[in-house]
Symmetry: C2
Subunit: 456 residues, 2 copies
Amino acid sequence: MAKMKPRTLSGFMELLPAPQAQMERIMEVLRETYSLYGFTALDTPAIEDAQVLLAKGGGETEKQIYRFQKGDSDLALRFDLTVPLAKYVALYYGELSFPFRRYQIGKVYRGERAQKGRFREFYQADIDIIGDGSLSMLNEAEIPAIIYRAFHTLGLERFQIRVNNRKILSGFYEMLNLSDQATEIMRTVDKLDKIGADMVRDILVDDLCILPEKAEKILRFIAVRGSNQEVLNALEEFRGENQKFDQGLDELIAVTKNLAAFGVPETHFAVDLTIARGLDYYTGTVYETTMLDHPEVGSICSGGRYDNLAEYYTDKSLPGVGISIGLTRLFYVLNECHMLSDQAITAPADVLVIPMTEDLTPAIALATQLRDQGIRTQIYAEQKKTKAKLSYCDRLGIPYALLLGEDEIREDKVTLKTLATGQQVTVPLAEAMRTMKLAIWEARQGVVIQDTGKKD
Amino acid sequence: MAKMKPRTLSGFMELLPAPQAQMERIMEVLRETYSLYGFTALDTPAIEDAQVLLAKGGGETEKQIYRFQKGDSDLALRFDLTVPLAKYVALYYGELSFPFRRYQIGKVYRGERAQKGRFREFYQADIDIIGDGSLSMLNEAEIPAIIYRAFHTLGLERFQIRVNNRKILSGFYEMLNLSDQATEIMRTVDKLDKIGADMVRDILVDDLCILPEKAEKILRFIAVRGSNQEVLNALEEFRGENQKFDQGLDELIAVTKNLAAFGVPETHFAVDLTIARGLDYYTGTVYETTMLDHPEVGSICSGGRYDNLAEYYTDKSLPGVGISIGLTRLFYVLNECHMLSDQAITAPADVLVIPMTEDLTPAIALATQLRDQGIRTQIYAEQKKTKAKLSYCDRLGIPYALLLGEDEIREDKVTLKTLATGQQVTVPLAEAMRTMKLAIWEARQGVVIQDTGKKD
């Protein structure tokens, strides 16, 4: 028969078993962490009515969307988890309780130009808290606290959550009567590190026709750096000139204070006035998260506060705050940086039972006992030499083999082989189980991300 | 602004938070159970190259496939998890270790005519064991043992895994020189319960022109019923006439014996000669699983042994055995039958912290302590009356509320309210934690499926 060459589409991540086990562990930690903060799981279809999905209209995103007909239906694959959430909350509004806290880990689709590290199908891991008419500011501090715990539990250490408030930015430009030019100004000041303050001042004054004293004020504003307290102190200098600015500053102060109460150390959290987030719908606190040793990666987790989640579907005011981890890209980056642990976490089983008798009944009974105790067990029943069986065990990273032959059965014992050392002992089953349980306990404490950090 | 009416496509399951929590728990149990047997997780793209996906060609399935163009690419959504597995094993053959044991829980897509209980997007939860050139028979007994443990852990009790062997069926018709008519004969004998033995005999002899003595033998064969041992004994009567039949019988005897060793009780496992499975590629043991009190539902978990997983992609001989749970349909059925538990399992949190002070710092610190202990905690910070806060707690099924006011803070205590009883005590935090931990422990023992079974 002629064979079809098997292939997987480019831009679609498909992992071998060991890295897939790492990915599964990451998702498990995220589910557990999100649950710890009272978020409920949500799952929405990958396919939606295209009209519903694109209610907001689209720009850049719309070109990337997978859209197709089936029968008379105009369908599209979701390109994020926010629009489906908006649809969901608008659709089931009467049956939900607010604040509605949901997490969703699911695949989304964007037909981007394929390139290294860019994916057309990728997981997003989102949390959002939606209020009905209003939503306490407290949630804006809780969101980064959740992300801190999630990354910390995964083993990532050298990261920082950067926080800003959109009201501070828009209030500042209102203060100068420069709201109309805010986008251009921000684009210019973004180049500060590259071209220097003098050049920025020249562009502001000469090209954008901004009065010199206003340009000075802008330069003073963007020069605000330092510890969180220093940044907040420096911002106080601008207080009293614009209501929106003052409100944003109050919010930023509250978030900073509460974040400390949530247990997020100052090292992992920075007030950073350069964070703006492109999307229009953020209206208050905004977040980006960077890996300190890999700034080239950009933000691995971003989000913010918005006033209206579902304005395209409902008149209800549904303010919210949320954040999203681009999981597939993060996994790709961690792998490229050799930061994924190759510990026992990737083994598909804790022990391989190797029957040495023709009758498999004793081996099956042994495996059943092990599984009843929660030990992940595989029986190797293929006709192979013992050496080949142990080599299989080794290749899969299974830490133990249990050999069961006539002698062992007669003596009511098992032969436990520790693959890492080659050590082999014949002991009662209870003793072998104790050894394995302690090792499994140990292995479960291991983290999936090994972040040794930059050497000082 | 004009609003777009939010809607979800028909044939796509989208659950409210409480049932979604039940679904999540089911998936968690399946992941844990599959892992206990040494299966590794797999995740493949939902979109594949249409040529690759349809290499086998398609018949009925092909019409249902979601197929579309994106740029120059001819794409299709996967319609099961078996074809992607075949592609995966053929593609990564050199990097896998065999036997390759994988589980996959993922969405698949079939554009069927929409009707009650039929879904166009649905989860399948598959396990397969793939051998390289050969595969031990032991695996054919292990597969139903895994399904038994999974359903048992979920709380389903009144179910039965029915097992047959394709070699017995094809061997039997070879024995009679009636292989060419086997399909028609099986279609006729399927009507036995409806039309009776005499009518079946008439059709076989008159319409299908089968010799009367052969028709008698067929009737004797399909009349084989009883306990597993009775069925196996009755089949011995036909031994010695056809090699394939004898091999199938040996296999069925081995599977039956090993299943007992795997701890599957006879009540949950029946040798049933009427199980054939439509698909051509099953070549040995075949499985179907039925809910004893709901035969109308049909098989909730089916599969079998096949000789060649990936013959459309590779010359390698890759025999395997697998089984699939149609998870979305099973969930739908369980819900329709009111068999899903409404215990605390659906609550998004174990406790709701209600701050009674303006400064939220003490409430945040309290919540952080609870979360550090693994207690799923939500802080309710909205401006509402206490009654409204408690009503929120109640609606979500959160079993406890912790009230923290000036008095409690001064006395270093918390007020713990048990929602179910309305009881309220002011106690040290450690004591409140003990109470909650014991209740959480209890709740975690609860099963998601409540199978009270048929009243006798």
